[in-house]
Assembly symmetry: C2
Homo-oligomer: 626 residues x 2
């Protein structure tokens, strides 16, 4: 490693280690934005990094750091990036744990996918075909297939509709023809000449709220672009149940919802293609994931039974259809594929999460949690996996919260409360004046209020003069002021009410009931869980310590929590790039057991206990209570 460089891990970027600059500043130069909500005052402790090498080139621990870091942390090289600065020349290696990376960068970092060997379902084979002569009278199809069988060692079938392109594809470029094969089974395209360097696919994650599409070069595996949009079905119903109700109440409801989502995906694909001068006709495969309802609606499959016990999905098996079947304008004889579903509320997106997490190959027991309106959890290891779905509701998306909002400009996303003064520091998205509070802020709020003694284990706000910020609102309901009217963008104070807290308790209890049930089924304690894979945008932005402190995540040492970002998208891309991965997904989807939580006999009791902060049974949170 060159001298005078500071190397930020695991991001892998280096910058010159200039004397006098803090690790936070140099991190920013290296393109990694380290978390800090106290304005580099050394108070919030969020900018914790670990100096792995070159500790002597960094200033010694100052008083702020000594306060913020415990003895063990101090001994292991932990520092506050806003306090530690470079004091001499020489190489430095700094680990930036994911929980110290700022949200937006977290998402980027989470983009670092698990590598898969490129083996896409679509591949191109260039053939020099023996011309038709009076001595060789074979039909075009036999002529092509016989040579291809020899070259590809697989006897393939020409897709219906592709035959008509054979005569031109064979003859137009002097019997040099490029064949596009799908899974070594079907010939889906024949083109004159050599077009082997054009091989493109799109991965799509259809969320209830947001649709994200990724354009992938299947020759290199590279992502050429990412586009997203709100799910265009939202006007027909905010959540899954509302959309299913819409289908039930309107004769053409299913067709309408199918058409709008297909049109949305089609628009994303057109946009992706336009930026790199491709045509949708160049897209040979689209890999789609989504929750079971989004999956069914996209493929035009009735979803009504997903809303009725026993919530059986219509389709588990992975689908492979032509674009015309769903109404996409990608290459007509190309494919639109889906990953399999597991159950009515554990869909293809959860399968993608599982693939992206690698949980299915872990030796030790781990747990993947993808928080949303429905939270999917899969726990286990290479030998056994169990899944469940928790009705966590939309509170983390800001719904039913007095000042709740989505994570857009002005949303409070980080909160720090001084345990002594009860002074509140907040950070907002885009650092504009606060307008409201989003999911990660809500979790922080509860966690910090609990730590500061503003609420008790039952969630009750203690209104008292000794607790500045606590008060009763006009309806006599206790609340806690996060931002005063003077500092908010609206001129109104932004508060957390007793009702808000109850909503969050319900949501986190739903999630922890799932966590606890899976742990019970697997007969493991929190300490047995080697890894918690936090998937999804919310899972990435939420502060893991806060999530443990309120009893939403199992009580594991913080370093066992691994953020895997939009794992559904990553998993979809992995399966787009590799048939081995999608075959694995199919096997896993059959293997993963599914627990219908509401049908568990301990469900009510488990849920009631989990309403406490962190839990009624504190033995389950040995670390959180410290």
């Amino acid at each position: 490693m060159p001298d005078h460089m500071i190397h930020f891990q695991p991001i892998g970027r280096k910058v010159e280690a200039r004397k006098g600059r803090t690790l936070l500043e140099l991190g920013a130069e290296a393109g990694i934005s380290i978390e800090s909500i106290c304005g580099s005052e050394g108070k919030c402790g969020k900018c914790r990094v670990i100096v792995r090498s070159g500790i002597t080139n960094v200033t010694p621990l100052n008083s702020s750091e000594k306060r913020a870091l415990d003895k063990v942390e101090q001994a292991s090289g932990s520092r506050l990036a806003c306090q530690a600065s470079v004091c001499r020349g020489g190489p430095i290696v700094v680990d930036v744990p994911q929980e110290s990376q700022r949200g937006h960068q977290r998402l980027l970092a989470a983009g670092t996918e698990r590598k898969v060997k490129l083996a896409p379902a679509v591949r191109k084979i260039v053939l020099k075909i023996p011309p038709a002569t009076l001595k060789d009278l074979r039909a075009d199809d036999d002529r092509l297939i016989e040579l291809l069988t020899e070259k590809a060692r697989a006897r393939m079938k020409i897709s219906n509709g592709v035959h008509r392109y054979l005569p031109a594809a064979l003859r137009e470029k002097s019997w040099v023809t490029t064949v596009t094969a799908f899974r070594n089974e079907e010939i889906i395209r024949v083109e004159p000449g050599d077009t082997a360097d054009e091989l493109f696919g799109v991965a799509v994650d259809i969320g209830t709220t947001k649709v994200v599409a990724y354009l992938v070069d299947l020759n290199s595996g590279k992502i050429l672009g990412t586009e997203s949009m709100p799910n265009p079905q939202i006007p027909f119903g905010e959540d899954i149940i509302a959309r299913i109700t819409y289908c039930n109440r309107n004769k053409e409801g299913l067709q309408t919802l199918q058409k709008v989502i297909a049109a949305g995906v089609d628009a994303l694909i057109a946009k992706l293609c336009a930026t790199v001068h491709l045509e949708p006709d160049d897209i040979l495969e689209v890999m789609v994931v989504g929750n079971t309802a989004m999956h069914h609606l996209f493929f035009g499959i009735p979803a009504q039974h997903l809303a009725e016990a026993p919530y059986a999905p219509v389709v588990r098996t992975p689908l492979v259809v032509n674009p015309g079947h769903v109404g996409l304008s990608t290459y007509p004889f190309g494919k639109v594929s889906s990953l399999p579903n597991i159950a009515g509320f554990v869909g293809a997106d959860a399968v993608a999460d599982l693939i992206a997490s690698g949980l299915y190959e872990d030796e030790e027991v781990g747990m993947m949690i993808d928080i949303g309106t429905n939270t999917e959890i899969i726990a286990g290891n290479k030998d056994r996996l169990i899944s469940c779905s928790c009705a966590s509701g939309p509170a983390f998306e800001g719904a039913h919260i007095r000042f709740g909002m989505r994570a857009s400009s002005g949303a409070i996303e980080r909160i720090w409360i001084d345990p002594e003064t009860k002074g509140v520091v907040v950070r907002t998205v885009d650092e504009t004046p606060a307008r409201g509070i989003c999911g990660s802020g809500i979790v922080d709020a509860l966690s910090e209020m609990l730590a500061a003694g503003i609420i008790d284990a039952s969630g009750k706000i203690k209104v008292s003069k000794e607790l500045p910020g606590t008060r009763k609102n006009r309806q006599g309901l206790p609340e806690f002021v996060l931002v005063h009217g003077d500092d908010s963008s609206t001129g109104e104070p932004i508060t957390i009410t007793q009702i808000d807290i109850q909503e969050i308790q319900l949501a986190k209890a739903a999630i922890f009931t799932g966590v606890a049930t899976l742990m019970r089924k697997l007969k493991v304690k929190p300490s047995d869980i080697s890894k918690v894979y936090a998937a999804g945008a919310f899972g990435t932005y939420v502060d893991a310590s806060s999530a443990i402190r309120i009893g939403m995540y199992p009580d594991v040492p913080i370093e066992r929590i691994q953020f895997i970002g939009n794992a559904a998208g990553s998993g979809a891309r992995m399966c787009l790039r590799s048939t081995r991965m999608r075959d694995l997904a199919e096997r896993q989807s059959r293997k993963v057991e599914y627990i219908e939580l509401a049908a568990e006999k301990d469900f009510q009791r488990e849920f009631a206990q989990a309403m406490f902060l962190p839990h009624r049974d504190l033995s389950r949170f040995p670390n959180a209570q410290q």
Copy 2:
């Protein structure tokens, strides 16, 4: 067998053997129309039958019979049905050889297909499915497929588009569901309740000129109806080459021709369904045969290369598409299948002919001839089969013949010339006054004129006073009068001109060149040919002796010629009824060798020799010259 009955074989009908009635009259009563063109005068010898048993119950040979039948025939029980009558009580068994059966009846008799064991590609399986409960949370697809795999011993895949019908099909009739499987591979339909008794398919033979469709009950194998229409592509070109030219010259030509033929087939299917109160949606499979060009145009595959050396087809392999792919309105997730092609001019119809003939399983060498504008010939036996196509042209359909016409009302279809008086007796279609002459009449004309010495072996008409009816027309061209103006429907005499004879010579030479080439390749003589299967309408109506006498068919004993009627239609129905037969068709299509006649080095010489009547080399027609 009951007393006093006369049993006509192979038709199998019996009537009372009333005394004094001729065999011809009793045959008519039994529903079998025995050929006779001399008006039961015992002159034409066409009504030859064989009394197999009860000869003593029939009048002795009269003078007409003694003149018409040779000693061997007389000894073997041959009789003229118009002369022999019942003289005493007692059972009689009469064989009516196919060549003595009248055209229309011939077609009926030919309708007696080779039996196949019913094993259609579509089959229905009724399932009692375990309902979804909180204890059994399987997805609908898994639930169905797991039970079906057990019942059908085949793991099938649900066709794309069918998934959406699963929830209703499972739940609407209390979890009793009928699954329609295609080839034990795909589930193409799911219906609530038990619908196993509804299983229908349609076989279609798309000829260049005529399209015939058959509705088949696939539970019983029975034909429920037959409908036909002229090929609606005719306005775009009378023959294959004209239609291909239309496609080449018009941008949307191929699409237009595809649409009109599909619309035509769709109309036939609608008509078939209406007569038995079915809907096109009840039709689960349509099996299509046709020559290679008709096949390609129906499936929307470019046919231009069929018109250019080396005439390679685009597709040999059997196709299986959805009705929407070609534009049929049968059950949308059902199938439209084709038989394979062999070569550019030996198509799926010839494969169907081959299947219908049974030639592929014969021990001894046989030959299948399907005469049309292109004549397909397949020769060989179970070990080896060779095919070719002969450009026989449209002369047999009446084209390029002065008074040529199709076999409709008033067309001369049978001719008999008294060898001594040269008096001409004709029979017309529907026995209305003569308007012209159709294919079978043309062949008879040449044969009879040759036998009567009106033309010589080179085909030259001898104009002389000793040969009544011979004359020169206004252009000084020799011709022979078949029907005088007084007897014709037009008031004009109907003649055969020297040019007409030349056209027929070209046509029959083309066919015999094929016959001779295949015999040479197989190293067989006519006497080695155990059977000639005459397929198609023309092959059924043409008089086999005449065809041999002019040197069109190989010189085999007449009883070796077997009429197999619209064998393309029969073969299509057989393959609709049985997957075994269609798999056989696929294997045979790969096995049958193809000879491009024009590329054979002896082609010119062979063709020139075959212009003679019957042939320049009379050793090839040892019997015909007698």
